[in-house]
Symmetry: C2
Subunit: 490 residues, 2 copies
Amino acid sequence: MSAKKPFRPKARKPRGFEDRTGSVLRAEQHLISAATRIYDSWGFEPLQTPAFEYAEALGKFLPDEERPNEGVFALEDDDGQWLSLRYDHTAPLARFVAEHYQDLNKPYRRYQAGDVWRNEKPGPGRFRQFVQCDADTVGSASPAADAEMIALASQVMQAAGLSTGEYLVRVNDRRILDGVLETIGASEPDRRIRVLRAADKLDRLGREGVAALLGEGRKDESGDFTEGAKLDTAGIDTVLGFLDAGGGSRAEVIARLEGLVGASETGKAGLAALSEIHDVLSAIGVKDDQAVFDPSIVRGLGYYTGPVYEAELLATAHYDDGKPIQFGSVGGGGRYDDLVARFTGQAVPATGFSFGVSRFAAALSALGRGGAGDEAPLVIVVAAEKDRSADYLAMAAELRAAGFRAEAFVGGGNMGKQMKYADRRGAHAAVIVGSNEREAGEVTIKDLKLGARLAANIEDNKAWREEQPAQSTVKRDQWVEEVRAILARR
Amino acid sequence: MSAKKPFRPKARKPRGFEDRTGSVLRAEQHLISAATRIYDSWGFEPLQTPAFEYAEALGKFLPDEERPNEGVFALEDDDGQWLSLRYDHTAPLARFVAEHYQDLNKPYRRYQAGDVWRNEKPGPGRFRQFVQCDADTVGSASPAADAEMIALASQVMQAAGLSTGEYLVRVNDRRILDGVLETIGASEPDRRIRVLRAADKLDRLGREGVAALLGEGRKDESGDFTEGAKLDTAGIDTVLGFLDAGGGSRAEVIARLEGLVGASETGKAGLAALSEIHDVLSAIGVKDDQAVFDPSIVRGLGYYTGPVYEAELLATAHYDDGKPIQFGSVGGGGRYDDLVARFTGQAVPATGFSFGVSRFAAALSALGRGGAGDEAPLVIVVAAEKDRSADYLAMAAELRAAGFRAEAFVGGGNMGKQMKYADRRGAHAAVIVGSNEREAGEVTIKDLKLGARLAANIEDNKAWREEQPAQSTVKRDQWVEEVRAILARR
């Protein structure tokens, strides 16, 4: 009614955010429901904390420890208090446990799947919102609880459709490296953090880059200089030797580490934990080709205090040009005995595992696994006569009652447009009752998948049109059975 | 390492947000998965838009039209653009459709379940984050598409465990009231909005309050004055008569409305839509006791352009003091043909239905419906000997392999503490292998539910201790079958 030209916002989503649809989203849902079923069967309980936490309660335990003030979406509430969107499910769990500590039945075992947000520079495949699915056991100091997490990780990988050999859970205990640092006299906190950060970059920078970071420091391609841990040559060799101590069975790695850890009590405690984890994993059937010990796993997050683990996808897909897509780590976790103590001052032992659902689902979708394409076949009832919607919707309802996925076309457009719609929806069959069929008490059913296959092989267009081999017309009381027969032969 | 006293944040969640656990959360998950299965079977596709939208793209279509600048959580991105958290799933859908309009296969039918955020004053049962689950059909102007939404609403109510008679979908078409306003010469936009808002308050204010808002205006208890629509007495009577025209079968309401709508083309179009909706609902088996026409339904949101609908929960639960809990509306929707046009300038017909999952799940949980308490029974393997975790975890794994939900206790504490833990977890059975059992090759199994029932009826404590009627000790090769027998008799 106003003469003013109306404001038209641009239809665009904020940078770094994505709309998820189709097979990737279905793979995500499939993954969450598979993981949830497993966590349930192991006795974990669901929890949903809110998206927001008070900024001070959330703390700043982001992987990028070098920019501790960045990475979080925060806003000021109208009472002046700052709220932050969660960046993982662990920090909110620590708040939850501290808030309800007296009332919680311990060990408290919970799972949670949901969005997390990182206020980071978006890039290709790097989003500012993604889904994580976590399981945690709070109130158990036993390595058996860590072993459970590792076993759960392996089970989720299997439930996602991966076979043994297509994934690997890599396990370590941070205290072993701490023990090594003690023996070489390099365990001051600052130095330790630099060593941990350097070790975490072995994949990316290789031995030489890590050696530089363990020593004086390293200048990267952009010219930025990262100060090193200032170990001497012997120290660098010891640490690199430790990082290389993986390979072979879990028992072999344990034997190798026994030679490296020396007299340090910290290191021995770490090794004892790995040893018990090994016993439990073996007892519950998690084999050496499903979970291994790898001393090079340190995990970036500052809060881990003992065992750490990473789930790696070994299966590869290929780009259109044949190049392999490496997926790498799709989840990780560890023991964080000090996180609840931030609130209460009292250490509460806790261990957990987190899957990057979005990342994992994208990989599964690229691999053609994990439920992508598993949807039930779709049948479209065509709107052949304009004023007969009620009939067509009733037919779709009849198909659903018979157990099929069915939709009556409710848009506008002629038969050609509707068949194109059915085709683009990936429908398996189209059901048609035009005036001819209606008067004859019949129903025409097109097998769209067969039609597409036949059409690809047929050169005589005229013969095709006359024979209509992928189409049949049946009596009204037989049409649902005919649809069943068509869907059965796919 | 610092001498400074460490900062201890308070463990509390932001006001207006909740941690969801236990039966309410399970009811939520059950509801979403039931709705999702139904939407899938009707041919809808999943979509997940991000939590954030550009503020200008989101627009301000909140129910509370009187405070259009409030209600949204917004923050400034580091490039100076404002981001808002979605307050529903409809506005982001309009952005998505406008952004991809050329590529979308239309009608585009999608469902989406997820959190939405309202930056409002929290109150009892009124949270700033909750879950909604929506289905929408975009690109169909047909009342058949509206009828589908109403049928879906009815199906979801049934899938949630409600019977016919325990819920009702109330349907109206806003254009009928517009027709009435035309016939009484009161269809200027401002006046129309005031009439719609007044009508929307019939439940809360009753006839007298609404009459005041239709006339000169109304002063509420706090003394605030709301200006009225300034209808004359005859006009007020006509509108109130229209709002009262519900009751009886859908056909009866249509007949009644035909007498009220007069010569207005708008009104006739609304009535024709209701008539077609009635035909479709009848054809697909949605009966008069599942969906009714109710002219008093207008829905607060500004963007609806035709049919509107509300799903009402009629079933009541009771507070501990016997007072009934009325749940009221748990969902609603309608046709919004102008929402995509905000971006493109071109009207795109669309209709959708939204469930308040959190609200609905809380109601279902209070009613004892909707999957609450449906979890599989839990079996706890007690950690009877300290250094035997691997054995106990292997036994839990054996139970899971046999199809049970099982957990080995991984916390610390003696048998009493562990039995208390099992009890508080609601476990059905506890499995015990202490040194006696281990040496004898036996397993002791406690039926915790039977034990609790028997204990409540037994007065002779000594006899109870000696007989242990809810406990059996079996040979190692029979223990899984013994657990099966115990779980079977519950």
